[in-house]
Subunit: 297 residues, 2 copies
C-alpha cells in the first residue's frame, strides 16, 4: 500500500520503518531535516514537503503531537501543510495523535467534504510499543475506512480496538486512557515523595509496589526514571499538561467534575510553571518537593 | 512451629490454613463463632479466647483490621483480648494489619517491655494472595524477629521485603501502597464515569485500558466489579476511607501536602457519606454519579 507518513518523532520513526519493512511503500515527512533518515535506510522515501508525502497515498498516517498540528498538515500552507489537497479521492487519513474528540469529528467533516475519510486512531504504548509493533490502537471511523487501513493497523498494533463508527470515539477512549496515565504518574510521584520524606529507601519501595496491589503500568515505566535526578526525556511534563487539559476540556463539555484528574493536572501545571516543562514527565516529583519545601533550592 | 492466629476473616482463614498445611501447629481465634471451622477442617485448632490462641505460641500472627484491634487483642480484656500476657518470653507478634507507623512503633515498645518482639508485617495481595500464599509482605523488626518468623513468612508470602530494623517501617511501606491503591481505585471510577458519561461502552474501555499505558493492578481487579450495579464485596468502601485517612495522618505528621491522595479520600468519604460504606470499594463510582447529577435517585 502507498502510505504517506507525517510526523517522524520518537514514535513516528519506528512506526514508519515497521510499515516499510512489512512491504508497504512509505513516504515520510517531518519538519525537522534528517528525521526521515532511518526510514530511507529501511528502503522508504523522504519527502521535502508534507504534500509530497501525501501525493498518491492510499493512506496518510499523521503521527503529530496534537489535533491542531494534524489540521495544519492537512489544510495549512507552507512545506508542512497542504497534504489533504494532494490525496487521491477516497484516501484514508489516519490521525494517530492525541486530540479532543470534537476536534477529530471536525477534521472528519472537513475531509468528507473533499471525498476523503478520517480514521480517528490514537495509540497507546509509547516508544516501546511503536518499536515492537505492539501499540494499542483505538480506532473509530466508517467500516470501509477501518477495512482499508487494516493492513497498516495490523503492522503497528498488537491490539486494534473498534471504538465505533463516529470519528471522535477513538479519541474519547484515548482521553480516558490519558486521564489514568496522568493520574498514575502523579500518584507515583506522590508515593515516591512520601517515601523519601518518611525515610524509606525508594529502590525498596519500587520493588515492593511492583508486586503489590498499588502497581500500575506507569509505576513500572516511570518509577525508575523518577528515582533519577535528571533522567532522559521519554515524554515531557508539558505533554501531560496538554493531555490532562484535554481531559479537563472533555469534562467541561460534558459538565463533569473529575477531582482526582484535576488534582493531577495541577501538579503537572506546577511542574511546568517551575521550569520543568521539557523535563521527563517523571519529574513531576520536583513539583511535590517544591510544594512541600523539600527542594534544595 | 506453634503459631497463634487471631483474625480469621476473608484473608486470615486461608493464611491460617496454609500455615497449618505447611506443617505448623496453628491455633486460631476470631470473635465470630465458626470462623475457625476451615482451620479445624485442615487439622488446626480453634481457641475459645484470643488468650488461648496465644498460649505457648512461638509466633502470634494478628490479621485484624486495624492497629487499635491489634492492641485490643494483645492488651485488652475479655475473650477477644489478653493475648500478650499468655505468650511465652521471647515470642514474636507479627502484626499483619494495616496501621499507622507510629502505632506499630508504640505496640513494639509495649511488647518489648514484656520481653516480647513485634514484627511489623503488613501485607498486600488481597484474598487471592492470601489463598495462594503469594502475598507481598513488608516486614520490619529486629533481625532475630525476622529470622524466627521466616518459616511462616515464606509460607504466606511470595515476596518478603525487609523494610528495616524499626517496627513502623513496614507500615510506612504499606501506607504508601495504600495511597496508590486508593488513588488507583478512585481514578478507575473517574475514568469509568467519564466513559459512561461520554457514551463509550465500558466493556470496550476496560479491554482497551487493560493493554494500554493507563493500566493498573486495581483497574484489572476492581474494574469488572465497577461495571456491576451491586457486586460482591471483596473489600469495602470504608476500608479505603480508613486507609486513606492513615495516609493523611502520616502526611500530617510529616507536614506533607498530598493533593491527589486527598482528592481520592474525599471521593471515598463521599461514597461512605452517601450510605455506601459497606459496599464493595469499586462502588466509589456511585459517589461520582451523584457528584455529577448522574445518579438515578
Amino acid at each position: 500500500m502507498r502510505i504517506g507518513f507525517v510526523g517522524l518523532g520518537a514514535m513516528g520513526v519506528p512506526m514508519a520503518v515497521n510499515l516499510q519493512r512489512a512491504g508497504h511503500d512509505v513516504c515520510g515527512y517531518d519538519i525537522r531535516p534528517g528525521a526521515a533518515d532511518a526510514l530511507v535506510a529501511a528502503g522508504g522515501r523522504a519527502a521535502a514537503r508534507a504534500a509530497d508525502a501525501a501525493r498518491d497515498a492510499e493512506l496518510l498516517w499523521l503521527m503529530v503531537v496534537s489535533g491542531a498540528q494534524a489540521e495544519a498538515v492537512l489544510f495549512g500552507s507552507g512545506d508542512a501543510g497542504g497534504a489533504a489537497a494532494m490525496l487521491p479521492p477516497g484516501a484514508i487519513v489516519a490521525a494517530g495523535c492525541t486530540q479532543a474528540p470534537a476536534q477529530a469529528a471536525a477534521l472528519a467533516a472537513r475531509l468528507e467534504a473533499m471525498g476523503l475519510h478520517l480514521l480517528d486512531a490514537p495509540v497507546s504504548g509509547g516508544i516501546k510499543g511503536a518499536q515492537g509493533g505492539t501499540l494499542a490502537i483505538m480506532a473509530a471511523g466508517s467500516e470501509a475506512a477501518l477495512a482499508r487501513a487494516r493492513p497498516a493497523l495490523d503492522v503497528l498494533g498488537k491490539h486494534v480496538f473498534d471504538c465505533g463508527r463516529e470519528p471522535g470515539q477513538g479519541s474519547t477512549a484515548k482521553v480516558i486512557n490519558q486521564l489514568l496515565c496522568g493520574v498514575h504518574i502523579a500518584a507515583a510521584a506522590e508515593a515516591m515523595h512520601l517515601a523519601e520524606s518518611a525515610g524509606v529507601a525508594k529502590e525498596t519501595m519500587h520493588r515492593i509496589i511492583s508486586v503489590s496491589a498499588g502497581n500500575s503500568w506507569m509505576w513500572g515505566d516511570r518509577g525508575p526514571r523518577m528515582m533519577q535526578d535528571d533522567p532522559p526525556v521519554t515524554s515531557a511534563v508539558d505533554i501531560f499538561v496538554k493531555d490532562l487539559l484535554l481531559v479537563a476540556d472533555q469534562a467541561r463539555a460534558l459538565k463533569l467534575a473529575l477531582p482526582v484528574a484535576a488534582a493531577a493536572l495541577e501538579m503537572f501545571t506546577a511542574a511546568s510553571a517551575q521550569g520543568h516543562g521539557k523535563a521527563d514527565d517523571s519529574q513531576v516529583i520536583r513539583a511535590y518537593r517544591r510544594l512541600n519545601g523539600r527542594d534544595a533550592a
